[in-house]
């Protein structure tokens, strides 16, 4: 499942860059705070939470966005932080409960780091990523 925003909405945001900017400034602190508390969000700006079993892949010490590394311990814990459950073990388990859980199989492209810190919500609505977002 990838979120599709109706063309008129995208168009509206594209036509009004200043309004988009103002909206982002208002939304960003709220988005950052809420997602940080619930998902440990790192504000990468290109949220794929819904495609990774509502588990933020940026919590992985290797920031893997396509699946677990080969170093997951036998008990499912992280090889780097032994006290932490592997992000992808959780993601895989949780994705089974989601009606759109198959989205975990989608090949995720490389993250555009120039958009880090921007609001992923606004980025989705405006259909933008990378430096045009920041």
């Amino acid at each position: 499942m990838s979120i599709s925003v109706p063309a008129p909405v995208r168009g509206f945001f594209r036509r009004h860059p200043r309004l988009t900017r103002a909206l982002e400034l208002a939304v960003r602190p709220f988005e950052a705070a809420s997602k940080k508390v619930v998902f440990g969000c790192k504000m990468c700006g290109q949220c794929i939470l819904h495609e990774t079993g509502m588990t933020c892949p940026m919590g992985c010490p290797k920031t893997l966005r396509n699946g677990p590394c080969g170093g997951v311990r036998m008990d499912g814990r992280c090889e780097v932080i032994p006290g932490m459950m592997c992000v992808w073990v959780k993601a895989e388990r949780r994705s089974r409960w989601l009606p759109w859980g198959g989205a975990i199989l989608k090949v995720q492209p490389a993250l555009d780091w120039s958009g880090a810190g921007s609001s992923a919500w606004i980025n989705v609505l405006a259909d933008r990523q990378g430096k045009e977002a920041s």
Partner: protein, 347 residues
């Protein structure tokens, strides 16, 4: 390096022949001595189709993989260069792959990379700009003549990208699916983590066959000889993602501490695992990981009757040529015809 020596059979062609393929990983020198790399590769080169060169394996700094791989290529051995995402961002990765291709290194194994916390520079900055799957995509994009930016490359590097999978680490159900993702991203061959638990490996391969992946991409099962009970315990307890069943640790303990005896037992266990894996359908061959013990490879190859595809192929060709009593002039034609026949067999 004016005259790059072409290997007898490139890894890609070896896979295409449909014959069992053997690869082996060597340790690259812990210094700047090219002879150390060549000494190790000469111990294994007669028994394999291609040799893996690790990239700062276990997070411990060694000679650059592209340099060691280039030394192998010059020696007439087809190298498989490991590329990890740990130390380089997407720009460095692209330039390294182009440079490697220019030095005759085509086969690249795309890995995430062991984290530096386990290595000798735990304070280094982790890069992980890409993950292993995105690295496979990147190699595929380069192969098709574009940079990741979309800019055209002329000429495109003739890369043959491969990937790995570890059937022995959780989440077990997801491992075959992750393999599928890697194949979708463009992986052309697969090498697995070291197999000690054959049962778990067989279960993994069953799922892989259900997904039809064994028919899409050649899969090599990783196998390794254990040298002592101590190293078996070390792998079981200290190497994340490695599964060493207690039975194997016990066998190594029973072999005692006398060197010849424990080493013989280690090779015997390895050969038994190879025999068991031969019963698992869907494998294209074996990938040996002797872990600083390259001397064991010849013994394993002879006891397990492991023959690299290129050796099987030239044996076939010589036999046919002898039967027909023909001259060497037609040898190339025959080799091509044989390759085609094997290809049809496989299809």
């Amino acid at each position: 390096m004016t005259r790059p020596i072409a290997p007898v059979l490139r890894l890609e062609e070896a896979f295409r022949s449909g014959l069992p393929v053997v690869t082996c990983e060597i340790a690259t020198g812990d210094g700047a001595d090219p002879d150390e790399v060549l000494r190790r590769v000469r111990l294994v080169s007669d028994h394999v189709d291609a040799v893996n060169v690790p990239d700062n394996t276990a997070g411990i700094v060694h000679m650059a993989a592209w340099a060691a791989a280039a030394l192998l290529a010059r020696e007439g051995v087809d190298p498989i260069m490991h590329v990890t995402c740990r130390d380089r961002n997407r720009m460095a990765l692209q330039s390294d792959l182009l440079g490697a291709a220019a030095l005759g290194v085509r086969n690249i194994l795309c890995l995430t990379g062991d984290h530096m916390v386990h290595g000798d520079h735990p304070g280094a900055k982790p890069v992980f700009d890409l993950d292993s799957l995105q690295l496979v995509s990147l190699a595929t994009v380069l192969r098709h003549g574009r940079y990741l930016s979309g800019r055209e490359i002329r000429p495109a590097p003739a890369l043959f990208p491969g990937a790995t999978e570890n059937p022995f680490a959780p989440p077990y159900d997801f491992r075959p699916l992750r393999l599928q993702k890697k194949v979708e991203a463009g992986a052309r061959f697969i090498q697995t983590q070291i197999t000690f638990n054959v049962k778990r490996f067989a279960a993994f391969m069953e799922r892989v066959r259900d997904l039809g992946l064994d028919r899409t991409v050649p899969i090599l099962a990783g196998v390794a000889p254990v040298r002592s009970a101590r190293s078996a315990r070390y792998m079981r307890e200290r190497v994340p993602g490695m599964e060493v069943p207690d039975a194997i640790v016990r066998r190594m303990e029973q072999a005692g501490s006398e060197r010849a005896r424990r080493e013989d037992e280690g090779i015997r266990v390895c050969v038994e695992i190879i025999e068991q894996l031969r019963e698992v359908r869907g494998l294209a061959g074996f990938h040996l990981l002797p872990i600083h013990w390259e001397e064991a490879v010849a013994e394993i190859a002879s006891r397990a009757r492991l023959t690299p595809a290129r050796a099987s192929l030239s044996a076939h060709v010589e036999a046919t040529a002898r039967d027909a009593g023909s001259a060497d002039a037609r040898r190339d034609d025959r080799e091509g015809a044989l390759l085609n026949r094997h290809r049809e067999h496989r299809a």
